[in-house]
Symmetry: C2
Subunit: 244 residues, 2 copies
Amino acid sequence: MSRTDPRTGSGAGAGAGADARDDSREASRGASASEQGPSARPHTGRRRNEAAQQAILDAALRLLADSDGTPVTVDAIARTAGVGKQTVYRWWPSKGAVLLDALTDRADQDVSGPDTGALRSDLRAFVATTFAAAQRGTTASALRTVVREAARDPHLAELMQTFTATRRTALRDLLARGRERGELAADADLDLIVDQVYGVFWYRFLLGHAPLDGTVAEHLADTLVNANRAPQEVGRAGTDHRPR
Amino acid sequence: MSRTDPRTGSGAGAGAGADARDDSREASRGASASEQGPSARPHTGRRRNEAAQQAILDAALRLLADSDGTPVTVDAIARTAGVGKQTVYRWWPSKGAVLLDALTDRADQDVSGPDTGALRSDLRAFVATTFAAAQRGTTASALRTVVREAARDPHLAELMQTFTATRRTALRDLLARGRERGELAADADLDLIVDQVYGVFWYRFLLGHAPLDGTVAEHLADTLVNANRAPQEVGRAGTDHRPR
DNA sequence: TGCTTGTCGAGACTGCTAGTCTTGTCAAGC
DNA sequence: GCTTGACAAGACTAGCAGTCTCGACAAGCA
């Protein structure tokens, strides 16, 4: 998450999209109050309003979902949330951070892939799930807007790096399990396979020139398995699922 | 190109990146002067300064090359070109159009792939050339800036659609030739192969998390050929170039 | 109870940029 | 010489991110 840590002014961590709702922020605040050096004072003054934070996230998500491309302004977020603009910037360092938080807050936290014990079905399911997520209208338009914002907001671009890296790792782990079972060649380039999946995904998602449906997902997964399977697997009965 | 057609105010055509230097704009202007209805008047007044147009493109390209991400402003382009801002908008409908023109003006006009008669080497060369183009510093930073601008300029986004479509078609033709020669399965999904190439390219180019060098190009090309080759090709001596 | 501290909503303000409009000048045809 | 339209220069408008200010308010502390 990228919410601003009270009293320190720094982000709470780099795990955007991975530790979304654990609110470790609260824990770290408590710790800092009791364990910091002698210069630390106990907290005084009015407390931050958690409801305001949630209202901002809700407003951002609603605007993201409704926007479909049109940029979402901080003014609009604040107005929709019934909150001052400064309050937004008290919790998050930039608009992009709010948007990404709003997106990942509601997204599936568990980005780890399925583990059925068979690479082909695992990969098919993973790719299909990824593609399907982008078909949901609200997610799609939110994702599109965040990417658009990331193009000119270096801070958000950095958060997106983490966002994508988390997902790449999940897919890579899935592939590594398959390789360990001998379903992929020992020298298969897992990173390239991962990037073929996400490359096709983003390329089609952002350009919109070709479908991203279940058929394509299945076809892509099968092609990748066929191209990288271990030599002893080649020609084995039932392993050559060349798609129609 | 997207330069504004004098006297009509509309773009000269949709073939961005394909018909860059043919200046069909001049031809169409001559035609309109002689063939339009009775309401048309012959041109009077000062002529447009072609040198200014070229100076704008040169300035835009120079700024794009130097920018590496930082947005290029219209003011800067006009100032660098020693030209009024209005002159920029007299030739092009938006900033993005100028940038894309500047990029494609100098780019290789011939986007058609090699044709050596063998799919594997054709594809290797095509992918390697594509990847290499993005390694050249000036092209890379220009491309990055244009993509960044396209993210928020709908007009430029449309031009980018044409830009990418032209390149997809070139690669697809290359693959289709290979399929006709029987090097790819008759039911291979050429569009998916194309998108795997450009997907990996853009994904790695924009995120920058993994290399885009000759080794990757070769590996990717070989993987794609292996995954989609015709059944009779499978196992044929010398056809299984599984990369290291 | 009153003081201090820090958050709150509201909104003014700064700085940046795309795109338009204005002005006075200049070149080309009639 | 007159008309027309391109030209450089730059003022202007509109939109938005992010900062700053203000008076109100809530919480801890003495």
